[in-house]
Amino acid sequence: MSTTNLNARLEGAVGKERVVSAAEELATYAVDGVVPGAIVKPQSAEEAAAVVRFASAERLALIPVGARSKCRIGTSPTRYDVAVDMTGMREIAHYDAGDLTLSVDAGMPLRELEGALARRRQFLPLAVPCFESSTAAGALASGIDSVLRQQYGTVRDFLIGAEFVDGTGKLCKSGGLVVKNVTGYDLHKLLIGSLGTIAVITRLNFRTFPLPETCRGLMASFDSGERALVFRNAVEASGLPVANLELLSPTMAGMTKAILGKEQGPVPGCLGGDSWAVYVSFEGSEKIVERIARDLERLVHEAGARKYEPLDEGSDSQSGGVLREAFEWLRWAAPIVVLFRITLPRITPEAIAALNQPGGSLRKALLVRARSVIYLSLMSEREDEKALGAFEKAAEDIFALAAAKQGHATLLHAPRGLKQRPGVWRPTPGDLSLMKRLKQAFDPDSIFAPGRCVGGL
């Protein structure tokens, strides 16, 4: 492997106009702190395949990137020679609104797509953080949650096919453009959360959904985490269709209030102080949202809320938008932030209490999303050895806690040095051994984002 004259050789392979050689640009393509030697911007799937073939022949490591908003998820690449910037591929390749199926280029910006689908009163329930800049493939490969997963599921539930370049530089596909399909292996599902380690995604096919007529929300505050949890669990057990269901610790609720205030939108009065909060968002026709609102009011009374506030369509959209972005603002909320994503079988008062232990006196914000996802953020104002030591100990405790409860923990964000110490994941050995075989099958020469995914994949 040689990176001398990399730009010149890349230009030879894919054309001068596709290669960005300005040195100051390279730093902006850093992936978890590692800066590439070159940037290439393919404008078609064939060009992307040519880049991969070049990298394969030269044994160069490449990482496909979109808006680069979530490149700090995962571990640092062990090698990173070429950034493959997919934002030049941003067309809607196919949209059959009558069939509710869609195919978009990898670099399709989600915000732009939202507009195009809205014109046909449809949408894609991929409501991820950094929504303003995110691309379809970047959002998918990052594995980040959509806030709408309570109602619409995760992206694996509405991804119906994909086209991508494998590690041999060939353009491959799986799935199709129909909503039901068992023809061949579901390879496209493997792209979800793969952090660019198995293929360069060039196109994604989705099923779309009708836009709801309207939406409403409810914000309620509680004296204790237990009471908040009683309400949250009651909403879940009620079977009411809710799009978004979130439980916020007092710190989290306070931060949410501050951000809402900054956006100069309506701030639910019940947020703040030492209260826990629960946010519920729901949608449908006027008649349906009224019915759900009625039932929720009953449940919120039964649960003994301190205060609650119905949110109208505008206010609900604003709160939902701020919480969608929680991943983004949480990680920059203090000089040092360690952000975990934890899944547990059941969210119980004991689990919440147990999650409050690690990290001792560090400031903590906790958010429970949908059925079983917890975001836990530990914050410190100082970046010194003592704080780093406390974070590391906390991380170990959180990994152990998740494992003991048959759940999982992922270190989503942390200062780079810290991330390397406790590691980002604790994969189970069985899973990891099979994942290694898949990585080898997709990327035999290990040229895609080496070391970025679970267990050094």
Binding site: G176, N181, Y185, D186, V373, S433, M435, L438
Partner: protein
Amino acid sequence: MMRSMSREMLSLLGPENVLSAKEDLLLYELDGSVERARPELVVFPRTTEEVSRVVKVAAKYETPIVGRGAGTGLSGGALARGGGVMIVFARMNKILEIDLASQRAVVQPGVVNADITTAVEHAGLYFAPDPSSQKSCTIGGNVAENAGGPHTLAYGVTSNHIAALELVLPDGEITRIGSKHGDAPGYDLCGLFVGSEGTLALITEITVKLSRKPEAVKTLLGTFDTIEDASQAVVEITARGITPAACEMLDGWTLRVVEDYIQAGFPRDSAAVLLLEVEGLREAVEEQEAAIVEVCMRCRARGVRGARDDHERDLLWKGRKNAFGALGRLAPSNYVLDGVIPRSKLPQALANILRIGTKYGFHIGNIFHAGDGNLHPIVLYDPRDSQQFKKAIAAAEEIIRYCVELGGVLTGEHGVGMEKNELMPLLFSDADFDLMRRVHDAFNPDSSLNPGKIFPLSKGCGEIRTRKRESAGTRG
């Protein structure tokens, strides 16, 4: 060689769990498809460890292995195309754990699909995937084939309802993938293994997600005087974003056969009916019902009526789910096809299927999952008439090719198996096959597991050794 392997299996499992006499094996040379292939040995392990040991013995004798549930599959997925050992999961049929609070159940592969719902419905829960054969098909087979059913329109196919799996790999290694509560870090292994048709691993334990029963359900029957009007209604229901839980179509010819058999209540003089189900909050059910009635009437439906009670609802569904059985009364055999098209192209697809039937001299019935564009044309034929059988196969192939031309795919829920593996090049390129083959070989490098399935025989993978090909049967 087979004899000494048979002896080892006998000492491993006991004589009550091994079949080797020809008359016993005959039962296992068929499944729900039109294919035929006889295993050389059938074994009934009772535990995962026994499965692992069986696999190791078979590996020692370099003998192919195929897993089998109830054998209701329609693409030959559970047939021993390479001969060898068939592992039947009928005796691994226990529900191991039910976690109502987390809405999960852990089950063995031989558990019958409907039995999961029976075990949890007292708590208001159910297992959503509902293939027509749900009273006999097993969850292991459902997982292998990524089975569907009428209600997958709203709730997704089997893959959407599986959280974790225990696997036995072709070298006998036992491993677990996925996570009981979802979101295991890394690649979505369950997403790959569900629907891999037994070509990557044997599945020995399954953690399923349970769904909550809706507050209200309404079953509607729309009656039409032409098939075109009925299919246009489906197009408009889809395009308007109305999302019924199920949207099934039966054409007039088929529904009359069903009525002769079951008296489900389908109007005999209609050209087509739509069997629709709307579920959810009472208000949502009322709204959807009103919207569906409006669309159907605008598409010149003769009428739309709701099932008055559970009895009538059960009867309508019984008519739908037993339709293939009813058709069995008309001809010695029937060939149920499985293709998918974009829903917007339903009317032209049905018209062309009719033309293709006429061309080959068959009346082709249609009873299918209209709401997700999943066609099930049925060709009735007599397998003893080899000319007729050949024509049935040719008609089927022409229909499936046409689905692909419309932008559709080869199979929506029955799988590729040994029925459509030679048609796979219609959709996939050499590069696609290369990658699929590498994925296959990453787990099943010697093609010892379920050889001769999914991949065209010319594209490597599942290449059946000459000796095996001689011992295996052929179509018909």
